[in-house]
Symmetry: C2
Subunit: 250 residues, 2 copies
């Protein structure tokens, strides 16, 4: 049973200001909830219909599940098709120290929640555990981002911090690679596992202040044939190709 | 000036059934309209506010533009932030013959409009001109897909056809490569420009019938470290990495 107040509390978490204030977030769908339960995140509540709670018994184990009706699940969910499972969890405030020899992905003003989630998922695939976002990147704990990670939100450490002081400090010990439309081709670039890779925003690329912190400019070569060519790649796609190429050298 | 009837006609094109019936589609935003105007697509109408028509004079040239108010643009647009330019164009029914030596990207049941558009944009970047979609792929002319192509919709040829007879027929002359979670690593795979590359749906991968037509299974190797790894990649991301690697050999 779920009270009207509880429904209203969960619905508030659909909005960023309440997520910020409560330091909570919503996790939806079987795969994402499974990843959540296997992680260090503090889980406050799990919701499921009776049928779905039974069907997912193997994931839920002995955890307490609040049973809801289809209509209630529809109300608390942010998705147009309500998920089998929905959980509320506490945002992580753990500050992870990033070892100097581990690669770092830096995101400058990524604006699309789906892109941010897809990027985290891809980083996870290539075993890149550290993502540093500029303060004006879209929120990692937004339901769309969490959804797009397909569970990888639980495997990567994401922190928000001003990029210029961070990169200035790092650049004494590590190379800071920035993805631009013109630069050294990544096909022949000698990536190192200590590299920091900076990706810019969907519409404006890397900001001028951050560009000044970049020590090497790299690019994904297009196959040119004339004016009829794409001018750029989607930010999540560009990140994926870079990480694929870089991971070959790690 | 735009009539109420015209506004209603354009708003109908927000829905697939009317796009199908009229064989028309909507193109929104400066970049996409620019690509449209440089293409062979038949353009029926262009809409802009007076300010935006002036500002984009260099793109529009001598073409007739219907001036609209901000409120009218908001009504005819599918976007939450109305675009500077909006055009209505005729869908292409041109059947392109694909030369045997040109690579083909085959999409099996891609369901997300953003993914389809991003895939077309990436294919364009790597100069892959031919995309063959299964009939149950999402519609290429949906506004979300067109938007996600960032203009590349005008550079790639997309056709919908049943995949099994198509691939059976092709496999006598070309290799049919399918992207799976297990297969030959693409890092060392000898791609050929005559290859057909098949990508499966976001949730279910390549369907069993299509799998039977695949002559080589290929995979994007993940960097494994334990259970805490992403189980798969986003479909547009996987396609991008494949095309990047394949394009190196074309």
């Amino acid at each position: 049973m779920i009270s009207k107040n509880k429904i209203s509390d969960i619905r508030k978490l659909h909005q960023k200001k309440f997520r910020d204030a409560e330091q909570l977030f919503i996790v939806e769908g079987r795969k994402c909830v499974e990843a959540l339960l296997q992680s260090d995140f503090e889980v406050l509540d799990i919701y499921a219909t009776e049928a779905n709670a039974k069907e997912n018994q193997h994931l839920l184990g002995k955890r307490q599940v609040t049973l809801v009706t289809d209509a209630e699940m529809e109300r608390i969910s942010t998705l147009s098709t309500p998920p089998a499972l929905l959980a509320v969890a506490r945002q992580s405030t753990r500050r992870v120290n990033i070892p100097d020899e581990e690669p770092v992905l830096v995101l400058d003003r990524i604006a699309d929640p789906g892109n941010l989630g897809t990027i985290a998922r891809t980083a996870d695939w290539f075993n890149i555990r550290h993502i540093v976002c500029s303060p004006d990147c879209v929120e990692f704990y937004s339901p769309k981002t969490i959804q797009a990670t397909m569970g990888s939100f639980a495997h990567v450490h994401v922190q928000y911090r001003p990029l210029v002081p961070y990169l200035r400090e790092q650049s004494s010990r590590r190379r800071v690679l920035g993805a631009f439309l013109a630069g050294e081709s990544i096909r022949s670039f000698g990536f190192q596992s200590s590299d920091i890779i900076v990706i810019g925003s969907e519409s404006h690329g890397i900001s001028p202040e951050v560009e000044e912190c970049v020590t090497r400019k790299i690019t994904i070569p297009s196959v040119h044939t004339g004016p009829d060519t794409a001018e750029s790649l989607n930010a999540a796609v560009a990140t994926a190709i870079l990480l694929y190429q870089a991971a070959a050298k790690f």
